[in-house]
Symmetry: C2
């Protein structure tokens, strides 16, 4: 049997998808019984015509030529960004076409509308490639864990930031140098804000929140903190205490509340997530009855991502409707209400009584100290004092640190990072 | 809609499956639109009637009451072992019923026959629970990696042996003590041979060989070595060299050859597989175009395993036929023909010229030495000498070691373990 598709957007992922559909066409036919025929490809840049020519596929600059083609059953949207991607997907669904997309920013912001339209017209939106590139995570959760309650999710969802944190930790270099190296290698954009400020991770967390908990969160209500304030000093202190620092997307169900956040997090070196290095992604799930699960693989790159896109195409051809996710009525938990353990680094003058002043304020806010490290002695000068706390409320930590930062013995704003006991 | 099933075998997994189908019935209905109704359960032990009563399900001691029930669409076989499980599954297929099984020993030995019958009668055999208990591995490979060529597979597929190796390494205890502790905790059988001799791992490797490469290997042709000869001394030497020792199932495609083996293996401490501890399982895949992937979770236990069984049931209800695996014509590679790096521990008398004698023989067989560790000095007495080799042929290693073991300076048979550079 033949399934006809149209691909919009011939960037890295688009080109790799054409290449892999060609290279593995007989493998796909043998396994699924389907020949996937690329009826036409489209890019607004006319120069991309050369890619189409190489594979002898008709080329268009107008996406509506594909969307209005009655022979095309699946529209593969690979241009990214909000518009015109959103219009293309919505019009394709209205024309009763299935859609495959890798567009996390679009789904995070308009997923609710897109999936409800897809449900209405009884078509599928495949989005395996939108989170964790090559990892078959979406199918694993929706099909493999169909009888599981997911209780907690911890994800390393952004390769750029994980590469930078790995570099800092392994080569003992500071953030700005690691960022420059990532840019040199093509792992970070010239304007790296989307990655290093945690926005890309937030987009993917939003999609996983829908998948695991049935909730499309308002993005501005999810606490999001990037990695630019993580210093080499913190990474080294954390290492000594047997922790590493990762940018995590966190989702925890707590009764009728959903605790969603993105921030640099200390996790134990003994946890498998701590071994996820460089540009790799991973998702760790706490479920019932399946228990703890971890999925690991490449989160980006043309060829790896094309694997997920093609699996969506083939599964649609086989009418393997993904199990649809129901929306749930859970409230978002405010960051102030979370309870966590904390890593706090104070930069204080090395004078008698400093520790007493700090710990008095912590006690005032019911924060109990688990450990204190002050290695360097430098009488009268600035030294770092690192504390790990027992579980405390974020609201109390914030109040306590604000108060401590006004002390005359404290020089610069204290560094606060959250610890997760996975 | 309602799907009627019959469950044969009310051990741990059978009971947990009933419990979870009951507990999560509304979750399953909400996600899939199906009510899974357990029409009857069966166990040859009449005393298991109490379980059926608890859930108000009709109980039978005769499995054919279920197999011949025309209302039952799916037979769930959870008794394990070869017979009568094989007969039950074959008869169920002949009665045009779908089958779900967790029976790895049966599939490893008779999978070819069972899957070809299933194909003939156009029914599904769900086997997600047969490898890596709770991990949705089978669906990930067959559906998620549908356009991928799997090139290499490395699996920690047996919780018992991984528990013992983890114990030895973390608590610095020897094999027999760790085994006794595993038995005490219920992680190892009284007769632990199936686990510690690598047979259970071999069964699962056989199923993965079919899934990843389309080959059902003759079990007696797959090199299989258990963990009982791994000593604490080897684990400690390996640690010093930044390796840990895991019982791995290995599958590598090499042209028209398939290299399948089960043996204790040194892997780098920097690899994510090295963090898979205690009773956890994991599979690491080298694929194209999806790249490296790792799946991690619980490999056994009633409730975790029930998650995979129920996902098979629901996916059959939704007519999500798993993508069938084609059989391939690959030859098995003989263990003598593999090339690997080796860890060799000699127990030699500490006399001048010992190293010269050993290395002369290694050179004779074209084996080049990467590193030598001899920490203890004990003039004239026995000391361990540990060598890591560069890549060499297994056949040459065996000949060289046989020859070295006849030297008068060598006391006991030398220990040889393979290293994999993942």
């Amino acid at each position: 049997m033949v399934k006809k598709i149209g691909i919009i957007g011939l960037g890295n992922v688009g080109e790799a998808t054409i290449k892999m559909l060609t290279k593995y066409s007989s493998l796909i036919y043998q396994r699924s019984g389907f020949k996937i025929q690329i009826k036409a490809v489209c890019d607004k840049k006319k120069v991309k015509n050369t890619i189409a020519k190489k594979y002898s596929i008709p080329f268009e600059v107008d996406a509506f030529k594909l969307i209005n083609d009655s022979e095309i059953d699946i529209i593969v949207e690979l241009i990214g960004g909000i518009e015109p991607a959103k219009t293309f997907i919505i019009e394709a669904l209205k024309k009763r076409k299935n859609v495959v997309t890798a567009n996390k920013a679009l789904l995070a912001q308009h997923g609710k509308q897109i999936f409800s339209l897809a449900k209405k017209v009884n078509k599928i939106v495949g989005f395996e490639a939108s989170v964790c590139g090559a990892i078959p995570l979406i199918k694993s959760i929706s099909d493999g864990l169909v009888c599981c309650e997911i209780r907690e999710m911890f994800g390393i969802l952004n390769g750029t930031t994980n590469y930078i944190l790995t570099k800092m930790s392994k080569e003992k270099i500071d953030f700005s140098l690691a960022l420059r190296q990532a840019q040199k290698k093509g792992f970070a954009e010239k304007n790296p804000s989307l990655d290093i400020d945690g926005i890309d991770t937030l987009h993917k967390l939003s999609i996983l929140s829908y998948l695991c908990f049935g909730v499309w969160p308002p993005l501005d209500k999810v606490y999001t903190e990037g990695i630019s304030k993580v210093s080499l000093l913190d990474i080294l202190y954390a290492q000594e205490l047997n922790y590493c620092i990762k940018l995590l997307a966190i989702a925890k169900k707590d009764g009728n509340f959903l605790d969603l956040r993105v921030h640099p997090t200390l996790i134990s070196m003994d946890h498998p997530l701590s071994e996820v290095s460089s540009v790799y992604n991973a998702v760790f799930l706490e479920t019932h009855p399946a228990g703890k699960l971890l999925f690991y693989g490449l989160g980006a790159g043309g060829e790896p991502t094309s694997s997920s896109i093609i699996s969506d195409i083939v599964n649609i051809a086989l009418q393997k409707q993904k199990i649809p996710q129901q929306e749930e009525d859970l409230k978002l938990k405010s960051i102030n209400k979370i309870k966590a353990r904390y890593y706090v680094r104070f930069m204080a003058y090395d004078r008698p009584g400093v520790l007493a002043q700090i710990s008095k304020i912590l006690a005032l806010f019911k924060i109990s100290i688990a450990s204190v490290t002050q290695k360097e002695r430098n009488k009268g000068r600035l030294v770092p004092i690192v504390m790990l706390t027992h579980e405390a409320y974020e609201a109390n930590i914030r109040k306590a640190i604000n108060k401590i930062d006004t002390l005359s013995v404290i020089k610069s704003p204290s560094q606060v990072l959250r610890i997760e006991n996975l």
